[in-house]
Symmetry: C2
Amino acid sequence: MSPVLAPDLLRGAGLRVTEPRVAVIEALDGMPHAAADAVHAKVAAHRPDLSIQTVYNVLRDLTGRGLARCIEPGDHPARYELRVGDNHHHMVCSTCGTIADVDCVVGQAPCLSPDDDHGFAVAVAEITFWGLCRDCQAVAVKAAAAVPIHD
Amino acid sequence: MSPVLAPDLLRGAGLRVTEPRVAVIEALDGMPHAAADAVHAKVAAHRPDLSIQTVYNVLRDLTGRGLARCIEPGDHPARYELRVGDNHHHMVCSTCGTIADVDCVVGQAPCLSPDDDHGFAVAVAEITFWGLCRDCQAVAVKAAAAVPIHD
DNA sequence: TGCCATCATTTGAGTCATTCAAAATAACGG
DNA sequence: CCGTTATTTTGAATGACTCAAATGATGGCA
């Protein structure tokens, strides 16, 4: 299914191969941009006693070793993806927090160099597109139509 | 001091002129990119009984009426600025959360149009530069020098 | 100039995502 | 197969922020 198997990923990163870690990686492979509780819900379907704390631990270890990437959109809970190494960006739904990848942005390279770095050692430029996903657009339209003339 | 006076800003936005609101605006004028607790600390110097809840309320009202802008960098607490209306970006220190404005980014306009919008109605493109501020660079260098050969 | 409806502030409790810490358990090199 | 060390579990705690009810102040209007 996945081109690279979870155990190999883990060993390659110097992490022990454990069942929770494999399960989290496979969950993330099937649902990119999932939040910790969503990962937990999916994993817990097969293994109800796996604690959410373990999911947090695993996600921390994966991101720490560069096997996963953490996305923290505004005040939405953090989300995780296995797609690392390429500098892609994200589109986030302001309402529900749904995330989509943005593979390529025209003019991306120039964005990496602000005119004045204020003494900062800039490591990365992160671009986030905010908007409404298809579902939330539909809900917004419906809600607008239901609003009476007054109030 | 400030080109526009706080009471005028408030009235213009349809908000009542109250002492906490004026105080928060003036604090923000003197310390852009301040977090709620920093604003509270500054305001409380003159008015010790002003609750942090009120600061949260005021900041919510100001951002809601477009008088202030809220910046939410990753897992750092939210920060606020009075500079609104222009689409400027930010440089954030990964360590301490310090923020600097980035006035102009070459290639900014193209960034507003992702190749594939995945059905999203994109409203804004937000660019965040992550790095280390001058102070945290110095600390990092010092810490690296203090690390022994082993461990 | 004073009244009062409405908007603000205060107080105190509650939420959520996430982290901390100690004890129990499991991976894997030898 | 064993022991060391990493990992998981359990349970509690944190920080940033929100909710809600009661009190207080603002400013339009008479």
